[in-house]
Amino acid sequence: MDDEKQFIAALLNPKTQNEAFRQLVARYSRPLYSHIRNIVLNHDDADDVLQNTLIKVFSNLKNFKGESKLFSWIYRIATNESLTLISQRAKKGGITNEEVNEKAVQNLVADEYFEGDALQLKLQQAVASLPEKQQLVFKMHYFEELKYEDISEIVGTSVGALKASYHHAVKKIEDYINTH
């Protein structure tokens, strides 16, 4: 915790800011990429969102109050940026967010950064059929193995509600796979 305080202080100090931010990028770019990629699915979109996220983090460092963990704050920005991209795509195409996700899953087959087998592809299809909130909880807990407490801090939902969403998501996924 003290290390994090020192790190945040270095990020806020104009003299050490750039070097500290370089460390932040080195520390977070891989897990953040995975988090964003799990939401938007496409590599190029993940690349754009990751870039926007980190620039937003840098620009808003002065507004970071330290009330939540740095990790949660950065993940919250990344999650919001990812969902914003999906909403923009949906609005532009005149379709729902879920339809945008279903299209992204269809494109996975030809994606050079997808190496899943038939079951993995079917799992992605099943996840894409879920409501957005359940998709988010499932991806973060099942694929990224984030704790409910951390997810709660990132998405601003109670742990109980997250567990219920995850339970519903698992049931729907099992039904989908059993019937398709």
Binding site: P14, Q17, N18, F21, R22, V25, A26, S29, R30, Y33, S34, R37, N38, L41, H43, D47, L50, Q51, L54, I55, F58, S59, L108, Y113, F114, E115, G116, D117, L119, Q120, L121, L123, Q124, K139, Y142, F143, V170, I173, E174, I177, N178
Partner: protein, 136 residues
């Protein structure tokens, strides 16, 4: 597929793969170049005054202007009378009688003679004041 149970299966990975390390190395460099420049604190040469300051300045100008307007209303220019000019020339300047005489021509002298009415008593008074004795 029947009776698929997610929690009873081996952990199923997403199938999404991450790019090579070189991508993240390039990404970091690319990102660092795109970071917004640090904000430079600019000291304005002209700082806009608050509204109350302008209002106070306006009030002072109106007060001063009003005072001068009331106390310096244009007055009719008055010409000094002849006596004032005479007094000025006699007492307030270095102009001597001789200087004035030099500026008189014969016409002026004639006009002066015509305008001066002297009676005998006045002449006597003058001569006695000047200690001039008449020998009759």
């Amino acid at each position: 597929m029947n009776n698929f149970k997610l929690n009873e299966e081996h952990k199923i990975k997403s199938g999404l793969t991450s790019p090579q390390d070189v991508y993240f190395e390039n990404f970091t460099e690319r990102l660092m170049q795109q970071l917004p420049a640090p904000e430079i604190k600019v000291v304005p040469l002209y700082r806009r005054k608050p509204v109350w300051f302008s209002a106070a300045a306006g009030f002072v100008v109106m007060l001063t202007g009003g005072y001068f307007l009331l106390n310096n209303s244009p007055q009719a220019t008055t010409q000094p009378d002849t006596a004032a000019i005479e007094n000025y020339l006699v007492y307030q300047t270095n102009v001597t009688s001789y200087d004035m005489i030099d500026h008189l021509d014969s016409q002026d002298i004639k006009e002066l003679e015509a305008s001066i009415v002297l009676n005998d008593d006045a002449i006597k008074d003058y001569l006695s004041d000047e200690d001039v004795y008449l020998y009759e």
